[in-house]
C-alpha cells in the first residue's frame, strides 16, 4: 500500500459494529476493520484480494472455499472473519514458493486433476491437510479426506491420482 495517499471513507453509521482484527494470512500479518458478520471467505476474496479461494454454494456443502486455519482445513464460508483474529490462515496462494510449485500443485497438473479449476484450490488445501497428517494414504483414505469437497468436472479419479502422486513425491523428498 502506498503511504502517499489513503482515502478515509465516511465512518460507519453508529449502529454498525466494527472490530479490528489481525490475522496471519499466508505468513503475513494483515490488520483489518471488519463487521462481525463478514464471512472469512469474503474477507479473503474481497478484502484481501486473494481470489484463489472460491465460493460455490450456500449450505457449507461444496468445500470450494477450503483454507487452512491453524493448520486444519475449514470451509471459510462457515467462519466469520472476526474469529480468525490472532490465528493463522493459509490459502492456495501460499502453496507455491517463489521458485517452485508445491508437489500437490505439480500432481494436479501432472495427473489432470482439474478441468474448470473452480474446486481445485479447496481440493488442494484439503489434500495438504491430509498429507500433513498422513503422508502415505491409501486410495480410500484419500477419497475419504476429500469427501467434503465437491467436483463436477473430473469424477475425482484423477484428483485421487494427483494426491497420491504428490504423496509419493513428498515421501521421497523427506528421505
Amino acid at each position: 500500500m502506498s503511504s502517499l495517499y489513503e482515502e478515509i471513507s465516511a465512518p460507519p453509521a453508529g449502529d454498525v459494529p466494527v472490530r479490528r482484527v489481525t490475522i496471519d494470512v499466508n505468513g503475513q500479518a494483515r490488520t483489518v476493520d471488519v463487521e462481525p458478520r463478514l464471512l472469512l471467505a469474503h474477507l479473503i476474496r474481497q478484502g484481501l484480494k486473494l481470489t484463489g479461494t472460491h465460493t460455490g454454494c450456500d449450505t457449507t456443502s461444496c468445500g470450494a472455499c477450503t483454507v487452512l486455519f491453524d493448520g486444519r482445513p475449514i470451509k471459510s464460508c462457515t467462519m466469520f472473519a472476526v474469529q480468525a483474529d490472532g490465528h493463522k490462515v493459509e490459502t492456495v496462494e501460499s502453496l507455491a514458493s517463489a521458485s517452485e510449485l508445491h508437489p500437490i500443485q505439480e500432481g494436479f497438473k501432472e495427473k489432470h486433476g482439474l478441468q474448470c479449476g473452480f474446486c481445485t484450490p479447496g481440493m488442494m488445501m484439503a489434500a495438504k491437510a491430509l498429507l500433513e497428517r498422513n503422508l502415505n494414504p491409501t486410495e480410500d483414505e484419500v477419497r475419504w479426506a476429500i469427501s467434503g469437497n465437491l467436483c463436477r468436472c473430473t469424477g475425482y479419479q484423477n484428483i485421487v491420482k494427483a494426491i497420491l502422486w504428490a504423496a509419493e513425491k513428498m515421501r521421497a523428498e523427506s528421505n
Binding site: 462481525p36 464471512l39 482445513p73 464460508c77 462457515t78 467462519m79 466469520f80 490472532g86 497428517r133
Partner: protein, 291 residues
C-alpha cells in the same frame, strides 16, 4: 449467503461468557464450531443479536477417560478429535463408529460434539449416541453448574432444556459397568447428507451376558428416538441370533418415521431393524464387520 448484522463478543473466560449470556436477554447465541449455527445465519433462519464466541476460552478442548472410566468431552472438542482419537478407538466403540459419519471431514475439523448436542437437530448423530450411552450434559450458568440427563436435555427440534443464560461446558458418558461395546450405522445417500435413518447401539457385557443396553435412533421421528426400553430385552441375555432379531424388531417398532422422499416409514423401520441386527451381530462375532 449473507447473514444479518449482529454484535460479536469473544470472552476469554467462562465467567465472562456466562455474564454475556445473562445480560443478553435471550438474544445471544453461543458460537463454538459454528458448523450448524453459521449456515443457519447465512440463510437468515437464525439472526441472534449477539454472538458469543467461546473459542478463545482455554481449557475446553479435551476428551478424556477419568480413572474410573467416565468419559468427559469438553465444549470445544471437535468431531475429528474423536474420529482420530486412540483412546476413543480403544475405549468407546459407539463414538468411534459415529465420529467418521458426522457431516464431512472438513466440517468435522471445526464442529464440536457438545455444540452439536446444543443444536438439538432431530437428525443429529451425537444426540442418538448420547441417549444410547445414557450420557449427561454439564451446563453452567450464573447460579453455577448442573447436570442434565441427555434424555431430558432436548425438549424438541432445536430446543434444549438450558436457560437463556446457561451454556453447555461438557458431555459426560458414565463409566461402563461391564465391557463396553457398541456401533453406529447411518444410511446417507452421500457423505454429508441428512440421515435417512441411523442407529446408535451401546451395550455392556459381563460374563457373556448383556448387563446394559442402550439404543437410540435419528432420522426416524421429529426427535431422537430413545429405544432403551425396547433394548431392555437384551439385559441378562447373551447375544444370540434370536435375541438380536427380537430386539431389532422391537427397536424398529418404536421408531416414528415419516414417509417422504427418502423412503416410506416401513422402509425406514426396515433400515433400523437391519442396522440393529448388523451392529449386534458384529458385537457378538467380532470378526464379522458391520457395514
Amino acid at each position: 449467503m449473507y447473514p444479518s448484522r449482529f454484535n460479536y463478543e469473544s470472552p476469554k473466560t467462562l465467567a465472562e461468557a456466562i455474564a454475556l449470556l445473562d445480560s443478553g436477554g435471550g438474544e445471544t447465541k453461543v458460537l463454538a464450531g459454528g458448523q450448524s449455527l453459521i449456515p443457519m445465519m447465512k440463510l437468515r433462519f437464525a439472526f441472534p443479536g449477539t454472538v458469543v464466541d467461546i473459542n478463545n476460552i482455554p481449557g475446553l478442548n479435551y476428551h478424556r477417560f477419568d480413572p474410573d472410566g467416565t468419559l468427559r468431552i469438553g465444549a470445544l472438542c471437535r468431531h475429528e478429535d474423536l474420529e482420530f482419537s486412540d483412546v476413543i478407538a480403544k475405549g468407546q466403540q459407539t463414538i468411534a463408529a459415529a465420529a467418521p459419519l458426522v457431516a464431512d471431514p472438513i466440517v468435522r475439523a471445526r464442529g464440536t460434539f457438545v455444540g452439536s448436542l446444543c443444536h438439538a437437530d432431530p437428525q443429529g448423530d451425537w444426540s442418538a449416541v448420547m441417549i444410547a450411552l445414557n450420557g449427561r450434559v454439564v451446563v453452567q450458568g450464573p447460579k453455577g453448574k448442573r447436570e442434565i440427563a441427555m434424555k431430558d436435555f432436548v425438549l424438541g427440534p432445536f430446543q434444549t432444556a438450558m436457560e437463556f443464560n446457561e451454556m453447555a461446558i461438557e458431555a459426560v458418558i458414565p463409566a461402563p459397568v461391564g465391557q463396553s461395546r457398541g456401533g453406529y450405522l447411518k444410511l446417507e445417500r452421500r457423505v454429508g447428507d441428512f440421515a435417512t435413518a441411523s442407529v446408535a447401539v451401546a451395550v455392556e457385557i459381563t460374563g457373556g451376558k448383556v448387563v446394559r443396553a442402550g439404543i437410540a435412533m435419528a432420522g426416524v421421528g421429529g426427535k431422537t428416538i430413545d429405544a432403551t426400553d425396547a433394548a431392555s430385552s437384551l439385559v441378562g441375555q447373551a447375544l444370540t441370533e434370536a435375541n438380536i432379531a427380537k430386539v431389532a424388531a422391537a427397536v424398529a417398532a418404536v421408531a416414528e418415521p415419516r414417509s417422504d422422499h427418502r423412503g416410506s416409514s416401513d422402509y425406514k423401520r426396515q433400515i433400523i431393524s437391519t442396522f440393529v441386527t448388523r451392529i449386534l451381530t458384529s458385537i457378538a462375532n467380532p470378526t464379522k464387520k458391520a457395514a
